[in-house]
């Protein structure tokens, strides 16, 4: 079986529509981030306490909230997590010792409130504000370093304009992923940042495969127009792009389905990343190169005329 054997789709011609689609998606994401839900930072970045509790029997969130109100934490975020008898409690922005006291207070209040329903603390995370701000800084630094490294590498191996095209594609991917997270009000934790970096790596993977073809074809098909060369390159790599994306998608999807709740958001971020990353390699990175080349060709022709 072979897909796209002699592919010759007019891919790049659709780029106006797809650019609009991309911009709309980014716009919606930004709207959500700025006006709607914002970006929900987890305790890793805000400081606070997170407790994942498994009760023997089902519990109602409202009852848990009453129990927490008794110890002054009625404002905590309480969510059902996976099963009806499992909940996650998040109390944000506490000082260090407060976090520990809070978790102990919450535990004793819940024991009193639900004497017939014992629970187990499956997971506890406490982050003081100091560490929180440090992690924020580290996350930003990590993403910036990665981007810098990428620009350098691609500039060396290909051309500077390829590097910029790649970066634009990456920013596009990250913005849309953040947008989805904001719309769905999902929490951004350290593992999500790790997922982002993975998306960065993976999306680039795709993009470079296309660039590689472009570079190769530029050498061997000097007579062709730039536009056609890029279009051809995309077509030639189409089979590979689709197959790799499908296989990666399969595995990440399985992870999301069955890997457990702890890893679910992480897997979800990867799913978005795989889809958007593939899309951006074809419909963001390539059009940028083409446009860029078109502009400089224009200048080049002008220069030659003189």
């Amino acid at each position: 079986m072979e897909l796209f054997a002699e592919a010759n789709y007019k891919i790049l011609e659709k780029r106006k529509i797809t650019t609009i689609v991309s911009l709309v998606l980014i716009f919606l994401g930004l709207v959500s981030i700025i006006f709607h839900n914002g970006l929900r930072l987890g305790i890793d970045f805000e400081g606070g306490t997170l407790m994942q509790l498994q009760f023997e029997n089902q519990v109602e969130v409202s009852d848990v909230r009453s129990a927490l109100q008794n110890v002054g934490h009625g404002n905590a975020s309480i969510q059902q997590f996976g099963a009806p008898n499992e909940i996650i409690i998040r109390v944000l922005r506490l000082e260090e010792q407060e976090g520990i006291e809070a978790s102990e207070e919450i535990k004793s209040s819940l024991s009193q409130y639900f004497p017939e329903n014992p629970f187990e603390v499956r997971r506890l995370e406490q982050v003081g504000p100091k560490i929180g701000s440090e992690l924020r800084g580290a996350a930003v630094l990590a993403i910036l370093s990665a981007l810098l490294g990428i620009v350098l590498y691609i500039s060396i191996r290909f051309e500077f304009k390829f590097a910029i095209a790649a970066i634009i594609a990456l920013i596009h991917d990250i913005l849309i992923t953040l947008g989805v997270f904001s719309v769905l009000n999902l929490e951004i934790t350290l593992s999500i940042i790790a997922a982002f970096l993975t998306i960065v790596g993976y999306s680039l993977n795709d993009t470079i495969v296309v660039f590689d073809r472009v570079r190769e074809n530029l050498k061997s098909l000097r007579r062709e127009k730039y536009f056609n060369i890029v279009n051809l390159s995309i077509n030639q790599s189409l089979s590979r792009t689709v197959v790799t994306s499908v296989t990666t998608f399969i595995v990440v999807f399985i992870l999301w389905l069955g890997g457990g709740e702890v890893i679910q958001d992480f897997a979800f971020a990867l799913i978005i990343g795989v889809v958007i990353g593939t899309y951006s390699s074809i419909y963001v990175a390539s059009p940028v190169i083409v446009e860029w080349e078109a502009r400089s060709e224009g200048k080049g022709r002008l220069a030659k005329k003189r």
């Binding site: 520990i100 003081g128 100091k130 560490i131 490294g149 790596g201 993976y202 993977n205 399985i254 069955g258």
Partner: protein, 640 residues
């Protein structure tokens, strides 16, 4: 690389063999039962085996991860002597400016210089200039962190956890990771407790009485009633019961704290418990403080409800002024529970007035053992801790007990009094017994911290991540299942899409997973839940290299090349692409390894080695397989 087939085959076989050897310990460990592990432990070989396996991250086996930071301000405060008001001001102001970027000692030096505070008054023998002194304090702080590290290590060692991680990070922080902990709060307490042991003499009943009466007066005055002259004490010949009204809990009245204090400033806790205290009505008007106390077997007892109010009273400035300057009030570590009239039971905290200065401190402890008190002794059947002292300690203890026969000495641990026995005779053997623990486990923990030593400065827990064991095993199970299912699906897909070549790729894929795990074992790396996700991701990504190669081969075949030429050309062209494409993912993995901690680092390590390994299997191994098929025959058609 090597062109000929035979060396290539040899390399591959050797690689597989090495992988097998590296993985064997992990396989053995995972399939061993607990009894077999126990047997190995007894033979002293368990640690050796454990050093060769792939470790499970805390999120997979359950455990506790703590980041501790040494409380430098408190350390400096404790070292300082003869603190004046100006010192206090400078200190508090410096402390409030501390943040992630701003270090305490820097601010402290600046503030001291700005307000012309000469530190030499408070920190003798460290130099004359403020800068010299601060530099010496800095050294002491660094040293304190090192000592704290050692002490915590000692404490944790005695806890008996396998492969604990205790590391210094930067100048002030310590990371502690303990796997398989059943009771995280016990571990937390064990690590964090300062464990300062002190022996302080109790003030005589007369002095204690007088102090309490003075407090009564202060409170009465503050309630706006007429000030009473401090009359001469009429305690001549009084029995020890003059402290509080005789046992009868006459008419208890619930009095609101507001009533007690008059105007009370805003309290920030929504404590409903605190708003009433229980007082003896008869005495309340005249002796408001006394009325909150009870006689509990000859000692000062404070009903549980009153504890916070009493604490607040004791902190009031005017009250502090009437407490003798060389004395302080300390609470008992536990509570007494006594039956009351009417059949219920009341819980009391005990309150003591002791010398501020300790006659003896825990530095002299050489050994501490927890056990149940022997039959016939004072504490028969109760948990006790026997403490041995060194020569200097024994001497001091002997002198102390000899000079104070008949008086009571308080055994204080972290400013809580465990017991206050009466000294019946001089103790010259340098050992003593501590009672008053709730259970044997608490006694054992106290013995552990006494043996390990007191922390030079308090440590704050600035980050904690605890995973219960049930979640750990759940996560492993789900992660493993997802990996296997994902793997199977991809294997099927590849076989379907690329036919026989797909099977070759499948073989490479499985080999890839084996290699990754072997590398992890060789590095004694930690596998975390994100790490398992990384494995799964690698399955998807490592397919990529093969896809690139195979698609090229197909293309070349379409162009009309012979099978062998197509294969060569395919590999040749794809190599460049593979490297370029994978480098970026490797870059991302490296960044994550650099900046990530714990679970995320685990993910990055797997991702990195996964890609490296996949390049090897895709390029080298599959090529070799093709070579095997095409070496000596002319293959007409390639199943691809």
């Amino acid at each position: 690389m090597f062109k000929r087939l035979t060396p290539r085959l040899i390399i591959i076989v050797i690689a597989i063999a090495i992988a097998g050897i590296l993985l064997y310990p992990s396989v053995r460990y995972e399939t061993m039962s607990s009894q077999e592990k126990e047997q190995l432990r007894q033979e002293g070989q368990l640690a050796d085996l454990e050093s060769k396996i792939i470790r499970r991250g805390l999120d997979l086996q359950g455990g506790i991860h703590l980041v501790l930071e040494v409380d430098v301000p408190t350390l400096v405060y404790n070292i300082a002597k003869n603190k004046s008001q100006l010192f206090e001001d400078v200190f508090q102001s410096s402390k409030s400016q501390v943040s992630a970027e701003v270090r305490f000692l820097e601010v402290f030096e600046n503030e001291a210089d700005a307000r012309e505070l000469r530190l030499v008054r408070y920190f003798p023998d460290r130099g004359i200039q403020n800068s010299e002194i601060v530099s010496s304090l800095q050294d002491e702080a660094n040293d304190a962190v090192r000592r704290a590290l050692e002490i915590i290590r000692n404490r944790v060692d005695q806890f008996g956890v396998s492969e604990p991680t205790i590391q210094k990070v930067g100048n002030r922080r310590i990371i502690v990771e303990l796997a398989g902990i059943e009771d995280p709060s016990r571990a937390r307490d064990l690590i964090q407790t300062t464990a300062l042991l002190e022996f302080k003499m109790l003030k005589t009943p007369e002095v204690t009485d007088a102090t309490i009466r003075k407090i009564d007066q202060v409170l009465r005055r503050d309630k706006g009633e007429l000030a009473e002259a401090i009359s001469a004490e009429d305690t001549a010949g009084a029995s020890e019961d003059t402290v509080i009204t005789e046992g009868e809990v006459a008419e208890d009245e619930a009095v609101s704290v507001n009533q007690l204090f008059g105007d009370v400033e805003e309290t920030d806790t929504a404590d409903t418990e605190d708003s009433t205290v229980v007082v003896d009505k008869q005495v309340f008007e005249e002796k408001p403080f006394t009325a909150m106390l009870r006689n509990v077997q000859g000692q000062i007892g404070v009903p549980k409800k009153n504890k916070n109010a009493v604490e607040r009273i004791l902190k009031m400035k005017k009250v502090q002024e009437v407490i003798p300057p060389d004395a302080e009030f300390l609470w008992s570590a536990g509570t007494e529970i006594l039956p009351t009239q009417g059949g219920g039971a009341s819980e009391f905290h005990l309150l003591y007035l002791v010398n501020k200065e300790a006659g003896l401190t825990g530095g002299v402890v050489t050994d501490a053992q927890a056990t149940l008190g022997g039959a016939g002794g004072q504490a028969a059947g109760q948990p006790v801790v026997y403490v041995d002292m060194n020569a200097a300690g024994s001497k001091t203890w002997s002198r102390l007990t000899g000079a104070n026969i008949g008086r009571r000495v308080a055994i204080v641990l972290d400013n809580k009094i465990h017991m206050a026995p009466t000294i019946r005779s001089k103790i010259s053997q340098g050992s003593t017994m501590i009672e008053g623990m709730a259970n044997l486990e608490e006694a054992k923990d106290i013995a552990i911290v006494l043996r390990a030593g007191a922390l030079p400065a308090p440590v704050d827990i600035i980050e904690e991540r605890t995973v219960g064991p049930s979640l750990g095993s759940d996560s492993i199970q789900k992660g493993t299942t997802a990996t296997i299912i994902g793997l199977i699906l991809v294997l099927i897909f590849m076989a379907f899409y690329y036919k026989l070549s797909g099977l070759i790729a499948d073989f490479a894929l499985v080999l890839n997973l084996v290699f990754i795990l072997a590398i992890l074992a060789a590095l004694h790396a930690t596998l975390t839940l994100p790490g398992i996700a990384g494995l799964i991701l690698t399955v998807g990504l490592s397919v990529d290299a093969n896809v690139l190669i195979f698609d090229r081969i197909r293309e070349e075949l379409r162009k009309g090349k012979t099978v062998r030429a197509a294969i060569d050309s395919g590999y040749g062209n794809a190599l460049r692409t593979i490297i370029d494409a994978n480098v970026t993912t490797i870059l991302a993995a490296l960044v994550l390894m650099q900046f990530g901690t714990g679970p995320i680092k685990g993910f990055a390590v797997v991702l990195f080695w996964g890609i490296v390994s996949s390049m090897f299997t895709a390029i080298f191994v599959t090529r070799t397989v093709y070579q095997m098929f095409t070496e000596n025959k002319t293959v007409q058609k390639l199943s691809i």
